[in-house]
Each structure stands twice: as structure tokens, then as C-alpha cells.
Symmetry: C2
Subunit: 382 residues, 2 copies
């Protein structure tokens, strides 16, 4: 008998409350009943994004929203700066290329955050650049980029800052309006604790202005059309109705807990996991700029990380993510985002210890768990 | 945000598969459709009880089945021997008294199992005794009684052995027919992984013969009437339909895992918890005869066990049971029965360590967890 524990950086576990909300009978989407639910969800999404702007909802995965940012804001041949510090940074470049833009890549070593002065230098050198595409949390390396500083930089120029916040929104503080982020994106299957199938995107005032003259082709992902529909409390195309019912519930859960406490919880679980990693003598993938969404740890050189991840999943029921590209087989990624509490993290660490032992790496069992418990004690009520 | 972990000795967690089965639309119980389900469940219950006899299903809690054993097998004034080693042993005496029987109690120190020679001595001294009532696992003390030996003793006399197996059936081996148990009882909310609401009882051939002359009054719990209904693949009264749908699923899960492996799993989780208790310097409530269903541990004398249990439940989301009567405030009881795996047990121990620390008892965090992990390593696949 194996129970399953999902500790990958998406999809994340769906809380029973949300699952029950989604199990409600389907209702029609062109009705006042659905419009009320849609409007409630919109209200919550604005609070979550910390914006006065509309937050548009697409029946798509996060990549769809990334594509929509490109197609709605640029014209053929436009120059964009892509910050590539991992698989998802790389994806910005691929989308830009697919649509005939001219991307300039700032390459960042995997596990590091981009240096703002490097971005400034490129912008100074190439004044034709019209947008900067970046991840708030680069899921493939468990590192964060300095969004606030990047926003300060782009705000003073005619350069849009387009932020993939897929493993960041609802995980740590990312105040869109206050910082001056032009585009902020997330997906349903991360901190929002929903199954995959919804993506969310909000545009700043100047991004909306830009979209009016952007000439790339778009139809399903035409954000102006979604914005017009939203004014009527509906969506342009058929919405993922059950997911929207779940979204209303998951937003309610986030605000009942309170965003600051949600952010604290993620930070705490990540810090505890890093403490466990230190106690076990393992190196962090992103030691300088670790993401609160997930923790990347190098496995010992004697252990095949890919086999370890498969063993944890198939023999212990514990799903981590492994490494990609040149980190394949060398790291594990343990998620903290979404419906995650103290005992999910301790389960992850206990399982990791036991699997390492099974793979011949002789860690003292309970040692990482104990370090994590120490780190988590402070959050326990008196 | 607190997630809930139910580690009390009943109710126990309901697996998603079972919850989904119970969420099916209700069907009528006087139909061929329901009779098919009922017959399937009956087939599984016989395997679970390890008996050729009918296993009757009552819409009641386990206590209802205990009462039915008394009312169907005895007549006013009958002498019975009650083995009282805790709250549930005591309950046998209360039921017998309520129905005007003449119980003789064999008192057993809490945490111990009854001594068979003591039972033999009473039976020799009081040849009028017509039944022995006992618990296979005494939930209040986390101790087991020697059922096989007791059955060997009663089998050779005209004395029925009536076994409350409420926290034993499906937890450890208790072969009804092979050992010669006359009455075996369990409830739905224990190893059967269902919500409360169903009780199960099976009678040996000689118990059925006895019931024909037993004169205590009975109606709802008239087992002969249930047996006649069962021959028609139905129940005498309205059955708890959704629970029966769930039962079919939970039995399927038990047989997919295989009873020997189910028993091993319970034994392993209990052994790991005892190892953790030793590592933390805590005394077992039942050191000689610990139950695989749950582990009772004395809390340190400086810690109020009742407050600790409340703190674990309310501040950490982890539900243990505390002590009853003279053990109130002095012990915790951590369950292993039902839908429980390695990480439920490790969660219980990690939470226990942290709560002890919060209550001023300076345990080394991770120490009990590590001892439990060591004990659990052997069960991990290569």
C-alpha cells in the first residue's frame, strides 16, 4: 500500500475543499449564475496579483499565457531581451523566435539570478529593445530573479517588463502595480492549488497601450477580446467552468489564511528544506537566490538522481522533480508551493533520507528531518 | 493553514477510492443491483474474518454488535466471564449487567494481557459460566489479549469465546474458524477504512445453536433475522447503503494488498513507533503485549498529556488519542490501523517530538523519527 505525496513544482496537491467545489454540477457559462462566480474570482485575482488591472483568465496552461504576452504586445521583427537562466527562460526565446521577433538573450548560469547591471548594459547598448522577458522564479533551477530591480530599470524606459510568475504568484510577494511590472502571468496548478487548465495574465496601462499597435497575429489569445468580455463578467471563449468553481474556493482559502501568512509559510518550508540539505551535506542548486517555491539540491555524486527520483515516486509514493538538461540525473527539486504544510516538507525530507540510504549514501536517518524541525519550531504557536 | 492528520484509533482516514465509491448516487436496497453489491461484500467479509460462517452487517457502531452478541446468546441470569483490562473490557461488563446477566470480572492491569491460567482457574471454579467476553486489542491501553490460547481453553468446554475484534480484525491475524473463536466483531471505522456506521459480527456453529435457546429480548439486533435476510442477499432492516458501497471498495483494497501484507504493514508501523518511543526515552503503556493497531506511550511526567494532545490537534493538525480514566493526561495513543503508511507514522512522530519540545521537554528533534526510519528501511524495496 503506497500513498502518494505530490511534491513536484506543479501540478500541486488539490485541497479537498477545492476538489469538492469542482465536483459541483456543471452550470452554463452564459448565465447570471456563472457571471457572479466569474466576478468573484476576478475580484480575488486582482488581490492576488496586487493590481487594479483586469486579470484575464485563459483556458490554457501557463505557456499559453506566455505566448499571449508575446503576440499581444509585439510586432514582427521587434527586439526583445530574454533572460535565460533555465528551461523557462529559454522558452521565452523560443516563443519570440516562433513569432518572428528578434530576441537578445542574457544568459545566466543555472542556479543564479540575473545581474541587473548586465540587463541595464544590454538595454543601453540596444535601445531598440521593446521588452524584457523573465521568470520571477525559474522552476528548472529553483532560483529567483530580481524582479523589483528589473522593474525599476524598465519603468524609466519604453521597455515592457514581462514576468512569468507561474511559480511565484501566491508564493512570494510580487506586487504588480507597486513595482511597475507590465505583464504578470501565472497558472492554476501551482500556488493556486488547482488542477492544470487555467492561465492568468494581467497587463499594465502602458502594456495595454502597446497592445493597441502590436501587429502579431492572434485570435484565441486576443487579450483585448478577453478584456471586453470581462467587462461583461464573462470570457471570450468557453471557460473551464469546473476550474473556475475551484478557483473561487482556492482564492477564498488563500485570503482566509492571508497573503502575508501564505508567503511566510512558503518561505519557512523552503528554509527548513535548505536546513535539511545542509545537515545532510548536500549542495543547493541556487545557494545565492533560492526560490521559496521549490528547493533544488544536488544529489551525492555516487547517486544517480534520475533513478533516485524514480525510486522515490514508484517505491515510496513521493514525487519530486529531477533535473533537466545538463542537471539531468544530478539534482532533485522539492516543491513547497500550494497546499503544503509542515508535514509535507518533513515527509519529503524523511523519504529523501531513506532513499539516499537505499542508494548506498549513508546519511544518518532523521538528521535532515531534525534540522528542518528545528527551523519549523519557530512557527509553532506557543 | 493546517492540514489534518487523523491518527486516533478510530475513526481512521478514508481512502480517496473509498470516498469516491461512497459518493456514487444512492441506489435502492431492495433491488438486484444492491443485492449483488451486498453479496460481493459478504464474500469479502468472510475472507477478512477467515470464516465459513455468515458475517452479519448491522447499521450500528461496534457497541451495537457487542450488545447483539450478549442478547442473542444468553438468557437472564446467565453467568459470563468478562476480561476487563481497560475501557472496552469494562464495557462488556456494563452490557452484561444491563441485560441482567451475572458477570464475573477478571481484572487485568491496564497495559497487560490476561493470563490464560487465571481464566482457566475461574472457569474451573465456576462451571456455570457460559461465555467469555474479551478484546483482541484493548484500544484504551494498546494491549492485546491472547485470543488463540483463550480459544483453546473455551473450545474444550461449553463456554463461548466472544471476541471484540474492533481494532483487531484486518490489523493482525485472527483466524476465526481455525482458532475456534465463537463470536467475532468489528466496526467499519477501523481497519476497514470506512466512516463509522457499520458493525460486523460472525457466529460459530455452536454459537448459532446457543442462540436458538437464548431468551434475552432482541429485535433490531436479532441476528437470526439478519441471517435469514442474508440468505436472500439483503439485510433485515434498511442498510447503510453508501457505507456498503464503500465497504465493497475497501475490501477490494485490502485483498489487492493481500491480508498478510496488510498485517505486516500494521506490525511494522507499530514497531517503528515503539522504536521511536525508546529513542525518545518514553515508556510504553503495554510493553509486554503491544498492539499492532496502536501504540500507547507515557508522556514525560513534566508534560500534561491532555494538553499535549489538544495542542497537537488544534495547533498542528495531528490527532492522537489521549488516555482514559487513571491514564487521563498521562499517555498518548498513536494509531496505525487502516489507511496508514510509512509517512503517516513518521508525521506522527515528528509532530510528537515538536510538541514535546514546545511543552518544555527537550527531546533532540529527529531522534525518534530517525529510529522509526531505521525500523522502516527493511520494508523498502531494493
Amino acid at each position: 500500500m503506497i500513498k502518494n505525496y505530490l511534491l513536484a513544482p506543479g501540478p500541486t496537491p488539490v485541497p479537498p475543499r477545492v476538489a469538492l467545489a469542482m465536483a459541483q454540477p456543471i452550470i452554463h457559462h452564459r448565465t447570471p449564475q456563472f457571471s457572479r462566480i466569474f466576478a468573484e474570482a476576478q475580484h480575488g485575482l486582482k488581490r492576488l496579483f496586487q493590481t487594479e488591472q483586469d486579470v484575464l483568465m485563459l483556458a490554457a496552461s501557463g505557456t499559453g499565457a506566455m505566448e499571449s504576452a508575446i503576440t499581444n504586445l509585439f510586432s514582427p521583427g521587434d527586439e526583445v531581451l530574454v533572460i535565460n537562466g533555465g528551461k523557462f527562460g529559454e522558452r521565452w526565446g523560443k516563443i519570440a523566435t516562433a513569432y518572428g521577433l528578434t530576441p537578445t538573450e542574457v544568459r545566466v548560469p543555472w542556479g543564479a539570478g540575473v545581474r541587473v547591471d548586465e540587463v541595464r548594459a544590454v538595454l543601453d547598448r540596444q535601445p531598440g529593445i521593446r521588452g524584457v522577458c523573465v521568470q520571477a522564479s525559474e522552476t528548472s533551477t529553483a532560483a529567483v530573479h530580481p524582479i523589483e530591480d528589473l522593474a525599476a530599470l524598465t519603468r524609466e524606459r519604453d521597455v515592457l517588463l514581462i514576468v512569468d510568475g507561474i511559480t511565484a504568484v501566491g508564493v512570494f510577494d510580487l506586487p504588480m502595480d507597486r513595482w511597475g511590472i507590465d505583464v504578470l502571468i501565472t497558472g492554476s496548478q501551482k500556488a493556486l492549488m488547482l488542477p492544470p487548465g487555467l492561465a492568468f495574465i494581467a497587463l499594465s496601462e502602458r502594456a495595454w497601450e502597446r497592445s493597441a499597435t502590436a501587429r502579431l497575429p492572434r485570435f484565441y489569445f486576443d487579450l483585448a477580446r478577453e478584456r471586453a468580455a470581462l467587462a461583461q463578467h464573462t470570457s471570450a471563449w468557453t471557460p473551464a467552468i469546473s476550474l473556475v468553481l475551484g478557483l473561487r474556493e482556492s482564492l477564498a482559502m488563500l485570503f482566509e489564511e492571508g497573503l502575508p501568512r501564505v508567503f511566510d509559510r512558503h518561505a519557512r518550508l523552503a528554509a527548513a528544506t535548505r536546513a535539511a540539505g545542509r545537515a545532510l551535506g548536500l549542495q543547493l542548486v541556487a545557494p545565492e537566490v533560492p526560490s521559496p517555491a521549490l528547493t533544488g539540491l544536488y544529489t551525492p555524486s555516487t547517486v544517480d538522481g534520475g533513478k533516485l527520483v524514480a525510486y522515490l515516486r514508484d517505491c515510496m509514493g513521493v514525487t519530486f522533480a529531477g533535473g533537466q538538461d545538463h542537471l539531468k540525473g544530478k539534482i532533485v527539486r522539492i516543491a513547497h508551493l500550494g497546499y503544503m504544510g509542515v508535514f509535507d516538507t518533513l515527509t519529503a525530507i524523511a523519504a529523501f533520507e531513506m532513499a539516499l540510504r537505499r542508494f548506498g549514501h549513508n546519511v544518518p536517518l532523521g538528521c535532515g528531518v531534525g534540522a528542518a524541525q528545528e527551523a519549523l519550531m519557530a512557527a509553532l504557536p506557543e
